[in-house]
Symmetry: C2
Subunit: 527 residues, 2 copies
């Protein structure tokens, strides 16, 4: 079944000599198939095919692109249990979780299809000519978003489907009208290959151009670096570590023509526990937090890595409850040996800090790659003296910062760097009383959550999954939800263009019946 080759346009290539295998993190069993790393020539060929395909694909209608995305979703579902089993085997994630993630993946594809069918996403804007304007006539100016060219997608380790081969980055880049080249995550090469087959079949069934999609295997940095440096590549999407995202960003900036890198690099996602809430629901709160910390073995970019509270008897009670909860948690297999080793090393390091008190870890010990859930404690004063202590530890870990008073709490909140999310849990008068604190937190987050945990990211119109640096490289764009499409477009204005040259979105007759801004007013009317 699994052939281990690269897909470049509609053709398979395996001219390289370097191979790699994947393995199951749950039992450390190596999976038998060999994946052949793409050669330099294959990388270049993928970009050339993408560039050629772009000429056709950028002109493809919204409805045709929508059919393509729907066909990808259908083909992924057609893969059935083979995909679920393979993704589970390569990630160590339970089949239930993978099944849910497949649902999210096909829903995302269909959501972008519906956005394309609606058509209004292009932000069409028309300022008709004013021939009689003084001192000079006004020309006719029309504007809309257009695609940018080949996009390189680096797939994520922690979402083998929803942030991977046919995940949100690929779906939004294809929806925008750009060919996509996927740099395969070496942990999930088999899962990738199955999904690549689905995309390729969908592209051929829908008459999409050869080169609209390619997938390149790689177990080191060479393929990704060559892709990012290729002059014909116009944009890059990445989900992963701060180190990885930062290097790709710097590489892209070093080009003669710098290009955007949308790197989603995770964060500590501070959770502010307010006093009234602490009073009422200590046990519930501890259970909710512990569950969020250990969800997916803590391997979410929205994992609650930091808790913040005021010192009080209630906070002490919360700590006791949290200790109990964490002790009872069952460790889960982490995604990879490197991730497990890193988690074990980082938690050991932070526990060795004199300012840090280890509160608890799960009673069940770590076995194979199972990361042991753990929580720790630090005073606000110690955190303020050494804020760099509190950095993301990828895994089921969280540290509680206990503040002496409201002023110290404010200072602590002001120390946080850019975050994907910030959560505030309050009751009674909490939100009003701590409003100025919450507004400080709002300033450094992409999403502000009230009475909820940060894990769980809705795929919808209003989602913003993109916080200030260093949580992402570009806080102006989201990697989740409908507006993720805006990462891979740029506006173009047309001045006094003949109606038949204009894209349908800007023609006088508004043949697509989309919302347009005409002289600044939203309308569906014709010109």
């Amino acid at each position: 079944m699994i052939h281990g080759k690269n897909l470049i346009g509609f053709e398979q290539f395996a001219n390289g000599t370097q191979t790699f295998q994947t393995y199951n993190p749950a039992d450390l069993r190596e999976l038998p198939e060999l994946f052949v790393q793409a050669t330099d020539a294959e990388v270049d060929l993928a970009v050339e095919k993408a560039t050629a395909a772009y000429g056709t694909y950028k002109k493809t209608s919204g409805t045709a692109k929508a059919s393509f995305l729907r066909a990808i979703a259908d083909e992924i579902e057609e893969l059935g249990t083979a995909l679920i089993e393979r993704a589970s085997a390569e990630s160590g994630l339970p089949e239930g979780r993978i099944t849910g993630e497949r649902g999210r993946t096909v829903n995302q594809l269909r959501l972008f299809a519906s956005v394309l069918e609606d058509g209004s996403w292009v932000e069409a804007s028309i300022d008709p000519a004013m021939a009689d304007r003084k001192p000079l006539p006004r020309p006719d100016i029309r504007k809309m978003l257009q695609p940018v060219g080949p996009v390189v997608v680096f797939t994520a380790s922690n979402f083998p489907l929803a942030f991977s081969t046919a995940g949100g980055d690929t779906a939004s880049a294809l929806a925008a009208g750009n060919p996509v080249i996927v740099k395969v995550h070496p942990y999930h090469a088999g899962t990738n290959e199955l999904v690549v087959g689905a995309i390729s079949r969908a592209a051929q069934k829908c008459g999409m151009p050869d080169g609209v999609f390619s997938s390149l295997n790689s177990s080191d940095f060479t393929v990704g670096q060559r892709l990012v440096l290729h002059p014909a590549v116009k944009s890059v999407a990445f989900t992963g570590s701060f180190g990885g995202g930062k290097s790709l960003y710097e590489l892209a900036q070093s080009r003669e023509e710098p290009i955007p890198v949308f790197a989603e690099m995770g964060s500590v996602n501070p959770v502010l526990l307010l006093p009234e809430k602490m009073k009422g629901e200590t046990e519930n709160l501890a259970a909710t937090i512990a569950g969020s910390v250990n969800l997916g073995a803590g391997q979410f970019c929205t994992n609650p890595g930091v808790l913040v509270a005021l010192k009080s008897n209630e906070t002490d009670a919360f700590k006791s409850a949290l200790v109990k909860q964490v002790q009872a948690l069952a460790p889960q297999a982490m995604l990879h040996e490197n991730i497990f080793k890193n988690y074990t090393k980082k938690t050991a390091e932070i526990f060795a800090e004199t300012a840090v008190v280890k509160l608890s870890e799960s009673a069940t010990g770590a076995s194979t790659l199972k990361g042991r859930p753990a929580v720790a404690n630090i005073t606000g004063a110690d955190f303020l003296a050494k804020p760099d202590l509190v950095e993301e530890i990828f895994g089921p870990f969280s540290i509680l910062i206990e503040c002496a008073d409201e002023a110290e709490l404010m200072d602590v909140l002001k120390k946080f760097k850019g975050q994907l999310t910030g959560s505030v849990l309050g009751a009674g008068d909490d939100f009003r009383k701590f409003e100025s604190h919450i507004r400080v937190l709002q300033e450094v987050v992409g999403r502000l959550i009230f009475n909820g945990v940060p894990t769980g990211v809705e795929v919808c119109y209003s989602m913003h999954h993109g916080g200030p640096y260093p949580s992402t490289t570009d806080s102006r764009f989201t990697s989740v939800g409908v507006d993720a499409i805006k990462r891979f477009v740029r506006p173009v204005s047309f001045q006094d263009a003949p109606d038949d040259y204009l894209p349908d979105e800007l023609k006088n007759a508004n043949p697509l019946n989309i919302w347009r801004r005409v002289d600044g007013e939203l309308t569906r009317k014709t010109i």
Copy 2:
């Protein structure tokens, strides 16, 4: 009248010892006033005041910000002839041009005021909760754009008013809710000071916070560099040379937290002259092009620096007509000795190239700083062999690339780097016949103009003034028109936020009656 000091918030500072003067490029006469360069401490103070002001200003309502912008416009008009005379004296530009530019400046401020009064620009989006959704309930998610923090504006040399102290960058950054620090252009320090006074009076009359606006004098790079590297500065706008923009961009990327730099760096703005058009209107066409080349002594980022045509008898006739037109042009004073020297040097260099034929220059010779309009000629083959020959020469110069046939024309168009604009002049069947050529040009421009010259940039909703690199550092954003406001904002999502915490734009009752996307549908309805 002119005091030469820095304005930091509402206070004047002049603790520095380094001073500079401005002079009139039309007669090389030095203007008497001394301007005191800002010290490091003054730079830091401006950023501190801006940061403090941000806390208040970001919460200021749209209507209050609109009143502020309108008050700035009124105060600028109140300056009367003093401003016109000073700006003309410091730029060498005729008073008529400066009066027109003042009109554009106050119109821009009032346009942004109207955008704020309307309120819909924040892209409010609401996905209400679905408590019954399976398998999990959907939380309430709402999103809108919010300001980012202190913005540094580097003012342009070629627009002493409209792209300067109270120009489009300042207007859009203030409109978005960000304090602004202007790094004064040393050529126009007196003009700046008059406008700074207007902004300061407007801010005080409207009760805006101290620090919402500051202006720092500088005749070297130190002040600008310190500003860009200050951790509390969140965004930078610049209009000027490629070298200047690129250094600021790289400086901003070198920070621990990289920040956006919106640098508008100009381009050669190719003008494609198509055969049918050439046949009918040789004389008119030559007059139009010559006028556009010499407009404002060619010192526009949209100056038509390159003409492209097919070799033909008509093109020969066009060249003869262009030669006559250019010879008859009157040289105008350039903005500064450096600009004039650079123009003279660059034109001499390109004329010395063996592949380049000097077609014509104005009969009137250069005197003081008057740049002599000139046009040159190169074959398509020679351009393809050495495309770097054709780079922007800031001033009244243009080079005609004559292509042997349609295939060579295509190759030439494919060689162009990112451009602010591309123009196509055609008649009869031209646009249809050359559609594939035009679409190649479209791919590298921010604005595609049909039967018009690139000079003249409308300030409207549909304007996109921002082409692919190297014409700007970020082709996704415009520096002219309403959407310029989007440079200085980022989206934030609110999840399950109490109604009274939410900004008015996202409250259930829609108290501002703005357009919002609710479950993906545009509406003004309440929730």
